[in-house]
């Protein structure tokens, strides 16, 4: 009886820690609330990026009545951006390998893949900073014209998402290293992975629609 009460108290304090996908969870949906919440957030984030991409497409060739300067499309370095895109795409592979590693309780491998994913994300961000710096030197700033504002807002928001993802990955690495996150809570890494894959698919759309389509 005392054990049961202790288990209930523990579950209330820390949440269910020993559930896996094979068991029905004590929620209305039978799914963990954290994962449902992440998917709901990703669905809402689609709206944010949908609006930003729409705005860019509508403004991409406009410089406005009283402003001048090049558009972002005039300055794109497609080979460079292609490499950045490839790096981000491969970070999705390392992320999913981190998830499968922790599910198999291979903690050292999980830590390695988490760090690799964070490193690949950092390379992508470094590339974006380099690209933005080049644009600025060519005379394309955030307020240069309508087209540039739309471009920097869209890609900047994506960059912020990637940066937040890197912070989350490093946090996960610290938690795993300290032993605060084990295989019984593999879903935490999976949820961070969902976010990471989402920033990847957003870039898949941005790369095709913004950079490659003339």
């Amino acid at each position: 009886m005392a054990d049961t009460a202790e288990a209930e108290t523990s579950e209330l304090a820390y949440g269910p820690t020993d559930w896996d996908d094979h068991h029905h969870l004590p929620t209305n949906t039978g799914l963990t609330n954290e994962k449902v919440t992440m998917w709901a957030f990703l669905g809402s984030d689609c709206l944010l990026f949908g609006a930003l991409i729409s705005t860019y497409l509508l403004c991409r060739n406009r410089v406005g009545p009283a402003t001048k300067g090049p558009t972002a499309a005039d300055l794109f370095d497609i080979p460079f951006t292609s490499v950045s895109s490839f790096v981000l795409l491969m970070s999705s592979l390392t992320m999913v390998l981190a998830v499968t590693s922790i599910q198999r309780a291979e903690m050292e491998r999980c830590k390695l893949w988490l760090l690799t994913t964070a490193a690949l994300g950092s390379i992508f961000i470094a590339g974006q900073v380099y690209e933005f710096t080049g644009f600025y030197r060519e005379g394309l700033g955030f307020t240069t014209n309508i087209s540039s504002s739309a471009f920097f807002t869209l890609t900047g928001f994506h960059g912020v998402h990637v940066s937040l993802g890197i912070v989350m990955l490093v946090t996960m690495w610290v938690l795993v290293t300290r032993g605060n996150l084990g295989p019984e809570r593999a879903e935490t890494i999976e949820i961070i992975g969902l976010y990471w894959h989402f920033v990847d698919i957003v870039w898949i759309v941005i790369f095709a629609v913004v950079y490659l389509i003339p």
Partner: protein, 117 residues
């Protein structure tokens, strides 16, 4: 049904619920890399009228692969698919609404966005 059969059935169920093996994910990544190379090829070579449709198709295929396999939507509960697809559909409606409003506000000077021109 004996214990061994139950265990085997659970093993198959586990595979279908959890997705692919590591090697399977690597194969998916190779396919994505090839599709990306095909996208980039459109920049270096002239594909004429099929360039934009092929870029859009490649984009959708890559999107679908990442969402299905890396994000496990193919193997996970349909509830997650509904949540995500709802967001996607709403995003497309936002794009359609913006595009329609811009066309509606088109002015005779040839600029199709009177608010900006």
């Amino acid at each position: 049904m004996n214990t061994a059969t139950v265990s085997e059935d659970e093993g198959h169920q586990e595979h279908s619920e959890h997705g692919l093996s590591d090697f399977g994910y690597i194969k998916i990544a190779v396919i994505l890399a090839i599709l990306t190379a095909a996208e980039v090829a459109t920049y270096f070579f002239d594909f004429g009228v099929v360039e934009i449709p092929s870029l859009l198709i490649l984009m959708v295929v890559k999107f679908q692969i990442v969402v299905s396999y890396f994000m496990h939507l193919k193997f996970d509960s349909k509830v997650f698919s509904y949540l995500f697809v709802t967001g996607l559909v709403l995003a497309m409606l936002v794009f359609a609404a913006m595009g329609t409003s811009m066309a509606f506000w088109q002015n005779p000077s040839g600029c199709d966005a009177s608010a900006f021109c």
